[in-house]
């Protein structure tokens, strides 16, 4: 690729580089950016999130060409896309399966950070930007879910917007302000469309840019949780680092290939994913007089929904839901362990991470189930497990008997 000389050679490449630092940018950001050489499969999910983002943007642009927002037109236009637009069904499934894939990838990306302590200093801001991306993604997914104006769209909007009504004093007014009407209606649908296709994507892109700039500044963590910059060779390059390009570009292409294969299997063979990615109730138009049973949000929100339903007091339930999401923001300061990676942590951390993992999965499942005494009691138990991971972290992360951390990364190839 471009060396310094080539960048100023005669011809188009030189002409361009004298005016726009394309070569310089690529050299500095890819060729001279050293990433740890010991990334494992968990490190695919960052680049995969970027791939899914681009895919959502493109499929979304084409869907917007045919979608007609409005109480009386939205549902019909989605069916028009599914039936009469050439490959419209493909665009729609790419987008709807893409939304779920985004959360699969993001959850695994976040879980990687939990395992290897990627949120710890000096990567706190990187983690916070990531969490803001996650929040924006939740808003984006929720509003997108409302757009087909199916019956589940309508009722999920009803339930989720009403959560804001539990805020003391301003709640009822706030709910009306969000909906733009006394009920979930045309005004709500129109503003959600505007936010879904313009406002939140812009915010997302800005946050992703900040996330990447912060990543570039502090450098990637790795499965050993060691700073590779601490050991540099005579040339000043990290001994355990390799240039991002070509090594990680070619490796990420393999990850993207594997991901797209699985993604295509879902899109082409099980696009509704057994009622999880597209629900049966959403193939009926929105009907304020007929409530689907049970009302459940999309699978990626169900852990939080299960926590909300587990608490008999509505206001307290909403507060715990908020804490459940926001707790992630405080991880860099809750964690008092001297080591980052789970490889060198003791059994306290491993135990609590296991409890958290099981609780999150169980809550996800319970949030999809109807409300029965047994399910609600189970949700209470797992909610305790979920919160224990965060709230007790300042203590157990300190008590943990950590193992000595090696100087250099462990690398097997």
């Amino acid at each position: 690729m471009a060396s310094n000389d080539a960048e100023y050679s005669p011809g188009f490449w030189g002409w361009l580089n004298k005016r726009l630092p394309v070569g310089k940018f690529m050299r500095e950001q890819l060729l001279e950016y050293y990433a740890p050489k010991n990334f494992n499969v968990w490190y695919f999910f960052g680049s995969l999130a970027l791939v899914v983002l681009v895919m959502q943007l493109f499929s979304g642009i084409f869907l917007t060409m045919f979608y007609k927002v409005g109480e009386t037109t939205s549902f019909d236009s989605v069916e028009f896309i599914m039936r009469e637009v050439n490959y419209g069904w493909l665009l729609r499934y790419l987008h709807s399966v893409g939304a779920s894939a985004f959360f699969v990838v993001i959850y695994l990306h976040m879980y990687r950070a939990l395992m290897y302590g990627s949120y710890k200093a000096p990567r706190e801001l990187l983690w916070l930007f990531g969490m803001f991306i996650y929040l924006a993604l939740m808003a984006e997914a929720f509003m997108g879910y409302v757009l087909p104006w199916g019956n589940m769209s309508y009722w999920a909007a009803q339930v989720i917007i009403n959560i804001f009504g539990t805020i003391p004093v301003i709640g009822p007014g706030l709910v009306e302000w969000i909906r733009g009407d006394y009920g979930v209606a045309d005004a709500t649908l129109n503003r959600f469309f505007s936010l879904h296709v313009v406002a939140i994507p812009l915010v997302l892109l800005l946050l992703v840019a900040l996330h990447l700039v912060a990543l570039r500044e502090v450098g990637s963590n790795n499965p050993d949780g060691i700073e590779i910059k601490a050991h540099r060779g005579a040339d000043g390059k990290p001994l355990d680092g390799i240039p991002f390009h070509p090594y990680y570009t070619v490796k990420d292409i393999v990850g993207i290939g594997l991901f797209l294969t699985l993604f295509a299997v879902v899109v082409f063979f099980v696009p509704t994913f057994g009622n999880l990615f597209l629900e049966e109730a959403n193939f009926e138009p929105a009907n304020p007089l007929s409530t689907p049973e049970p009302i459940a949000p999309a699978w990626y929100f169900t852990p939080f929904y299960a926590i909300l339903r587990a608490i008999p007091n509505q206001r307290l339930g909403a507060l715990l839901l908020l804490i459940a999401v926001m707790a992630f923001f405080f991880l860099p300061w809750l964690d008092r362990s001297p080591v980052r990676s789970i490889r060198y942590r003791g059994w306290w951390f491993r135990g609590f991470l296991a409890v958290f993992t099981i609780s999150f999965g169980a809550l996800m499942w319970l949030g999809l189930k109807p409300v029965t005494v047994a399910y609600v009691n189970a949700a209470r138990v797992f909610s305790v497990g979920y919160f224990a991971f965060f709230l007790l972290m300042p203590w157990y992360s300190r008590w943990d008997r950590v193992k000595p951390v090696p100087d250099r990364v462990r690398f097997h190839e």
């Binding site: 069916e79 039936r83 393999v254 290939g257």
Partner: protein, 260 residues
């Protein structure tokens, strides 16, 4: 269409008078009919079945139920039905091939006659599911307390009359009392046990079953007309991606040789 509905109504009337006798079973059935686990078992790639299903839909359903997202011409193309045959045998009078399937029944009449407008069936296989649609069509039984004189196991107090009784025959349902304990209280509930044929239909059991499977198959197709294409394209996409990933992996191995 009208003729078959009349026959059905006449049969129902006859059956209602016989119905009293049928509600007392001669002998308890060996085992309860497991209707809740019946499956449609339809195959959307079977074009012949879809053609029969489309014929059944036009003859027995389209009088009252629309498919407002489905065009006759699209069905004809997908189901390999020649345009001549479509025009001669399947299109209602006054409809053009490119029209959407609209019921002859007017919405207001539906409300007056049945208490509600018969629902559009474009997406019924996706919202209700094919298995439930199949069970619904197969579990009508006599119930003199209902305005239609029939009821349904899947959808209790269904507004829809048993329009296929001409073919299937008229059935009475035999219920038995079951003790159910909910929150510590024991109650007696009526649980469905089996059907008794009161008036035989024009079709045998297996014939009617095949009729239903074809019909539900068409509903499945209409719910997502592109699904057969989707699967056949999917095979090639996945194969391409596997080959692509394999080459990408070879490239990665080549580059990573010098990383130690």
């Amino acid at each position: 269409m009208n003729k078959s509905a009349l026959i059905a109504a006449a049969l129902l009337g006859a059956a209602c008078s016989l119905g009293v006798a049928a509600q007392e079973p001669a002998a308890p059935a060996a085992e309860t009919v497991p209707w809740e686990t019946w499956q449609a078992g339809n195959e959307v790639s079977n074009v012949a079945s879809l053609q029969r299903g489309f014929r059944n839909f036009m003859n027995y359903c389209a009088g009252c139920h629309s498919m407002k997202y489905v065009r006759y011409s699209r069905v004809a193309t997908d189901l390999k039905i020649p345009t001549g045959m479509l025009k001669a045998d399947l299109l209602p009078d006054g409809a053009a091939p490119a029209d959407y399937i609209h019921a002859s029944l007017q919405g207001q009449d539906g409300v007056a006659w049945f208490g509600k407008e018969p629902p559009d069936l474009s997406l019924i296989a996706r919202s209700l599911g094919v298995d439930k649609s199949y069970r619904f069509l197969k579990t009508f039984y006599l119930d003199p307390s209902r305005p239609t004189r029939t009821n349904n196991l899947v959808l209790d107090a269904a507004a829809m009359p048993a329009v296929l009784s001409d073919l299937e025959g008229v059935k009475a349902a035999v219920f038995r009392d079951v003790k159910v304990t909910v929150d510590g209280r024991t109650m007696t509930e009526k649980k469905f046990d089996h059907f008794v044929t009161v008036v035989p239909g024009r079709m045998s059991g297996p014939e009617f079953d095949a009729f239903l499977r074809d019909t539900v198959n068409f509903l499945d197709y209409a719910g997502e007309p592109a699904q057969v294409d989707r699967r056949s394209i999917g095979v090639w996409v996945v194969l391409f991606l596997l080959v692509f990933t394999w080459f990408a992996w070879l490239l990665k191995q080549e580059y990573w040789k010098d990383v130690h």
